[in-house]
């Protein structure tokens, strides 16, 4: 399985023990997130909604690719990939 870095925004980090970056493993971004939830259990409720989908205003990037625009779990992850969780900041 690929070894990737999970990056969190400061608002999430502030309620999850100050963790900004940590390592997770998985061949796809959903698999890597499942591993991330094992390591940081409080994270799941903030990223996924009750149906198991990404929350409406949460974005998940694999490197520079927005997973919302991908069909399915996207390309196979490689060692060193970066998964970034962020909120959709869409104007004022």
């Amino acid at each position: 399985m690929a070894k990737v870095t999970i990056e969190l925004p400061s608002m999430l980090s502030s309620v999850l023990g100050g963790v900004r970056r940590f390592e997770a493993r998985g061949d796809t971004w959903p698999a890597a997130l499942e591993d991330a939830f094992e390591k940081l259990p409080g994270l799941r409720v903030h990223v996924y909604d009750e149906s198991g989908a990404l929350r409406r205003h949460v974005l998940c990037f694999v490197n520079d690719v927005n997973t919302r625009f991908e069909d399915g779990p996207g390309p196979r992850l490689e060692d060193g990939d970066r998964i970034t969780i962020m909120q959709a900041v869409s104007g004022g």
Binding site: S14, V15, L16, G17, G42, V45, H46, E50, S51, R55
Partner: protein
């Protein structure tokens, strides 16, 4: 005696502390950027605080000292609804309805149990000091639920009273419900209260309770700030009667409203006397202080008569309000009373409402105020 206020706002929580209820310090923000919507002390004495964000959802955090916080991993959550369609944006009811945990409106500790009231409307309980939670299906899955309709503040269970095995809860635009068996069965308790939205199928729903308070001496006496006015029940909610003498007159607003300005949200009861505190607003149509006069109203006799309190409150035109969760009493003698405003001010009274002072802060819109007194 030291007093600590947890003030929850749209952008975090603030701690206001005082040793004499005269001089106050303000610390924070905690949970910067998060809406802080409720707090309580768990049976062990530790603090629980509820947060939410339209992006990241709702959670509960625990702390023994108000400094180090840890998120509860198994917070209140609705069971995953298999086969249901997602909620349609802006329409929280009807076919495909799936309860979502948008926000916790209230946390209440009674004995060894902690209760949480949620949006979308639901009741949850914890028997392990807030570490894990389970839904109350007899209420959350009630046969009338598909016809529960959200009010202006959402479809929210915001008020919980507990006396032994008897539990009362309030859901906006639905009504008051009571359980006499610790939550196994529920019955609506709204007789005597004016309907707001009459449901075609279930006549027992469509009442818009805004807040509940328990009488400290008589467990059958319940106070109800409702959309349709202020009410008292002296028989545990079986029937309700209006109690509005002394409330100011205001614009009637919507057709069917009363002339007295009995619309409002918060209600708090001094646990040692018959004193009640509310914040009347000018009708459901306007929802602002009457003629710009920022007044807490007090009844010293369990709702028989009301008087406006203004000494130390803003003297000039003031059109900010006090939201449902933003009024608290501290249980001391005399009773401390606290209100937080939609423009971020906190006002405190150390003499049961006779005089008030503003705390040295201007915060974001205030959603929640809780007062904790310690020796």
């Amino acid at each position: 005696m030291s007093t600590t206020l947890i003030v929850g706002t749209e952008k975090g929580a603030f701690l206001c502390r005082s040793k004499d209820r005269a001089k106050w310090t303000v610390e924070g923000p905690l949970f910067k950027g998060w809406k802080v919507t409720a707090s309580a002390r768990a049976p062990s004495g530790r603090y629980l605080v509820a947060t939410t964000s339209y992006v990241y959802g709702a959670a509960i955090h625990a702390s023994k000292d108000l400094r180090e916080w840890e998120q509860i991993e198994q917070g209140p959550a609705y069971p995953k609804a298999e086969g249901n369609a997602p909620v349609i944006p802006g329409v929280a009811v009807g076919p495909g309805f799936e309860p979502k945990m948008n926000q916790l409106w209230t946390l209440v500790t009674a004995g060894k149990r902690v209760y949480a009231g949620a949006d979308t409307a639901g009741l949850f309980t914890s028997d392990d000091d807030g570490d894990s939670w389970k839904p109350v299906p007899a209420l959350n899955d009630h046969e009338t639920r598909p016809n529960w309709f959200p009010g202006a503040g959402g479809l929210c269970l915001h008020s919980i009273l507990v006396h032994g095995n008897r539990i009362w809860i309030g859901i906006s635009a639905v009504g008051v419900w009571r359980s006499d068996d610790g939550g196994k069965t529920w019955a609506p308790k709204n007789q005597g209260v004016r309907h707001i939205i009459e449901d075609e199928k279930f006549k027992e729903i469509g009442f818009c309770v805004h807040g509940l308070a328990a009488d400290p001496k008589s467990p059958d006496t319940i106070y109800r700030q409702d959309h349709a006015g202020f009410y008292i029940s002296r028989n545990g909610g079986e029937s309700w009667e209006a109690a509005e003498e002394g409330l100011p007159e205001g614009s009637v607003g919507m057709p069917g409203n009363k002339k007295r300005a009995s619309f409002g949200f918060p209600v708090a009861a001094d646990p040692h006397t018959q004193s009640l505190f509310i914040f009347p607003l000018e009708s459901d149509e306007y929802r602002i202080p009457i003629e710009g006069k920022f007044r807490v109203y007090r009844s010293r006799d369990g709702g028989k008569k009301w008087e406006g309190l203004g000494e130390g409150l803003p003297a000039g035109p003031t059109y900010s309000s006090v939201l449902r969760g933003a009024m608290a009493v501290d249980g001391q003698k005399p009773c401390g009373v606290y209100v937080g405003t939609t423009s971020g001010q906190v006002f405190a009274s150390a003499d049961a409402g006779d005089t008030w002072r503003g705390l040295p802060c201007t915060l974001p819109r205030i959603l929640h105020v809780a007062a904790y007194a310690d020796k």
